[in-house]
Symmetry: C2
Subunit: 154 residues, 2 copies
């Protein structure tokens, strides 16, 4: 961290950008289709895991912004390392939960009697997939931030 502050700052900027992108793409996931006289709506907040995903990535984006202003040495920097790890775990949970439901939406589960829904609302599913990809990139960048800190400070 102290060795290469510019690379590290860039890594944080990229993680923040990816987190904002993931939150925005998830938050704009919706589709309305009309089938004869039946109107079918799909909103991201219909699925609790997708709402959790948006909140988690919004927290990560806000935290990333704050962390940019913390000096790389001193007591506060130790807290940043701990929070980096907690944010990485939060994002892992968000991607995993949203990913599990997204997979269900695409494939369904015949044993549980849950039908796939992505054929009915393909735009919605693609939008969620975009959020997941952006979220996975942010998560990877966060993992790199934590691993970089561990490898240079420990």
């Amino acid at each position: 961290m102290a060795k290469s502050p510019w690379t590290f700052t860039l890594l944080r900027f990229m993680a923040m950008a990816a987190a904002i992108s993931a939150a925005v793409v998830m938050g704009t996931s919706h589709e309305t289709i009309t089938f004869f006289s039946v109107t079918l709506k799909a909103e991201f907040y219909y699925i609790p895991s997708f709402t959790f995903f948006l909140i988690a990535y919004a927290i990560a984006a806000g935290y990333s912004l704050l962390a940019l202003f913390v000096p790389t040495t001193g007591l506060l920097s130790r807290w940043v390392v701990i929070f980096d790890m907690l944010v990485a775990m939060l994002l892992t949970a968000a991607v995993a939960a949203a990913g599990a439901i997204s997979h269900l939406g695409k494939k369904g589960n015949e044993h549980a009697g849950w039908l796939p829904i992505c054929k009915q609302v393909p735009k919605y599913c693609n939008h969620v997939m975009g959020a997941l990809i952006s979220g996975a990139i942010a998560l990877l960048l966060y993992a790199m931030i934590v691993l970089h800190t561990i490898s240079t400070k420990l």
Copy 2:
């Protein structure tokens, strides 16, 4: 880590025990009910997230056993810190994915047309819930291991 090796070893033992327990409880989650002439079966491997949960916790348990034999100083101990973090993230993903599907099984989702299944197979759902609780304890212990290392070594 070097300051209190016994406490740390105990923490690892507890994490390993909780991980084994989570994997075993998930792996034994099944129920068969007969409704008139219709037989309904529920197995953990019917849900991909539950299979992922079992594999993740089996990996964590195996890794925890190996990590017990790694000395607390030296190059190998640095790798253990990195693997501890990766295992904590793996367990977070496992709990989140299985938790999301488990929540769906209990509550269903009317928007997606996914009905709750726990009223039909309550024993199965309770078993999965047991695995999730044990898994959450193992995850908490892993987070403590990583935070302990960060706070003592950084």
